[in-house]
């Protein structure tokens, strides 16, 4: 088994919202430095699953979870510090959600929380983190002259890259992205897709997408969800060209969902 080298090892994960079960016996591994795409029809539990990997579901009172999720071998459903986990496992949301503050302050938000810039030259260090993160998110050139202007003045695509920069600034290890380009135009989408390819050298990425071409273009592995179950998981090429399950095949070829 590849379990001991996996970034995430998910086993028999069940999740309920109150009485209704949203995830059923999810079991698979996510390998480091890969991009894993999660696809499936609306309401099948992709977001719910993703939000379990950094325990965002904790914010919802009615959620009950069973099973195990190991992150680097650590059981994150039980003994784990959520604050530390979320610093390591960052998240980019479907709708860009910049804070109503300056571009600089948005990116500096996480590092300031976690005291990442320390020492005598604290301000310089913070400047460097902010610049490095913006460069990394392919946004720096577009905003370098307006770092202290409100982030709400950016375009949707720029806002989303800012949100990526904001996550990169806390030096995470994993990036969870829930339909990060669904609110964006094709050009912004292309920018973020090429960014993903670059980011995977350093990070493990899990991305939820409704866009089959996107899943095909960017991901190494793909998981197909249907009504709370993981129907099939494998190499992206296999899922797309050689699906084992007939339901996967129907979905890929656009026959339902």
């Amino acid at each position: 088994m590849a379990t001991d080298t996996a970034k995430f090892s998910i086993k028999d994960l069940d999740l309920w919202y109150g009485e209704s079960q949203a995830l059923k016996k999810i079991t698979f591994d996510i390998q480091p430095n890969t991009i894993t795409a999660l696809i499936g029809p609306s309401g099948c539990g992709k977001s719910t699953f993703l939000r379990q990997l950094n325990r965002m579901n904790d914010l919802i009172d009615s959620v009950k979870v069973q099973g195990s999720v190991l992150y680097d071998g650590l059981d994150i459903l039980n003994d784990c510090d959520v604050i530390e986990l979320r610093q390591k496992v960052g998240m980019v949301f479907q709708k860009p959600n910049p804070f109503p503050m300056s571009i600089y302050d948005n990116v500096a938000y996480g590092p300031r929380l976690h005291g990442l810039a320390t020492g005598k030259k604290r301000h310089r260090a913070l400047d460097e983190i902010v610049e490095r993160s913006l460069v990394h998110a392919a946004l720096f050139d577009e905003v370098k002259d307006r770092m202290h202007k409100s982030a709400l003045g950016l375009s949707g695509g720029q806002q989303q890259r800012l949100c990526i920069a904001r996550v990169l600034a806390v030096e995470p290890d994993v990036l969870l992205m829930d339909e990060p380009t669904s609110a964006l135009d094709p050009i912004s989408t292309a920018k973020i897709e090429s960014l993903l390819d670059d980011l995977k050298k350093q990070y493990t990425i899990v991305i939820v997408t409704h866009n089959m071409q996107q899943a095909g273009r960017v991901s190494d592995a793909t998981g197909f969800f249907l009504t709370g179950e993981m129907v099939e998981f494998g190499k992206t090429d296999d899922i797309f060209f050689n699906p084992k399950d007939s339901r996967t095949e129907s979905y890929i070829s656009g026959r339902f969902g």
């Binding site: 965002m56 979320r86 959600n97 996480g110 929380l113 904001r166 806390v170």
Partner: protein
């Protein structure tokens, strides 16, 4: 439409007349509001200038002098100071408490507690101010009197003055500021909070660094409304402020070295003096000038609150 057809008599003209009358009613109502407003400003404004024209008091003396003697000299600076310090002290008490209440209901309270609390605050909002005044007189003033006389030596405190007035005003403005702050916090999208939590922020950090700044302009509108009420409140304040022509506070030779005693605000000064003022006397004119000052400040506050409302993000 169908009934019209079945009767065989189109009623288009009747409908048009009804619509015209309806519009006329709205337009006239709006006109009445505007005319009333202009009349109030004109009336109070023209009366207030009599102080300077008919009674020959210099504006500088009127606003800067502290000597108020109904027969001889009229200066309102102490009442201005009284009103301003009442507003400030009330805000010092009310803003942190209101914010805490709003944050608690919006972010912390479990669902089953949330709605009872909101309803309770609405009830609070409806309490007539005279009841707060009575409460201040019967409960707060003796409390302050006993407390001050216990810790202080050398001077007797009767308990009236700025502090009980600010406490009473705090009770009155707290529900207003809290509900407006609560609404402003509710308007902040959930995605923003999630963005903060997802970066590893605690709830406390998310509230103080994202939620409150994002709701800031909305909260400020509530605070300005609170200021307007604190400034304008008369009856409740009259019960406890002590009605004396002194500064609200002063230095003292004895512990705690700061004397707090009976004083007056612009509003209570109006209330207590109007009975004695004969039409056309300097006192009468001066009271109108005080009214006009209150009117102008309230107009400025409304403008400031509009400015904050325009800056709302969510």
């Amino acid at each position: 439409m169908i009934t019209n057809l079945s009767k065989g008599r189109p009623t288009i003209r009747k409908g048009a007349t009804a619509e015209f009358l309806g519009h006329l009613w709205f337009a006239l109502s709006a006109l009445v509001v505007v005319v009333l407003l202009v009349l109030v400003y004109y009336f109070v404004g023209s009366q207030s200038f009599q102080t300077f024209t008919q009674s020959h008091i210099s504006p500088a003396d009127f606003f800067l002098s502290s000597n108020w003697d109904a027969q001889n000299h009229l200066g309102i600076s102490y009442f201005i100071i009284g009103s301003l310090s009442l507003v400030l002290l009330s805000l010092v008490f009310a803003v942190p408490i209101s914010l805490a209440v709003a944050v608690f209901i919006s972010e912390i309270a479990p669902k089953w507690l949330k709605y009872p609390l909101l309803r309770a605050i609405e009830l609070f909002l409806g309490i007539p101010s005279v009841i707060f005044g009575l409460f201040g007189l019967i409960v707060i003033v003796p409390l302050i009197r006993n407390f001050l006389n216990l810790i202080a030596g050398g001077i007797f405190y009767n308990g009236y003055g700025l502090v009980p007035a600010a406490v009473v005003v705090t009770f009155m403005i707290l529900p207003t500021v809290a509900t407006i702050a609560y609404d402003a916090m509710q308007a902040v999208p959930r995605e923003l909070r999630e963005g903060s939590y997802a970066l590893g922020a605690t709830r406390r950090q998310t509230i103080s660094k994202v939620l409150i700044p994002a709701a800031g302009p909305g909260i400020m509108t509530g605070v300005i409304l609170g200021i307007a009420r604190a400034l304008g409140e008369t009856v409740a304040v009259a019960f406890v402020i002590g009605n004396s022509q002194h500064l609200p506070f002063g230095l003292s030779n004895y512990f705690p070295y700061l004397y707090i005693g009976p004083t007056s605000a612009l509003t209570t000064q109006l209330l207590f003096n109007f009975k004695e003022a004969t039409v056309g006397s300097p006192l009468y004119n001066a009271l109108w000038t005080i009214s006009f000052v209150l009117l102008v400040i309230s107009a400025i506050l409304v403008a400031v609150s509009r400015a904050f409302a325009a800056k709302r993000i969510y």
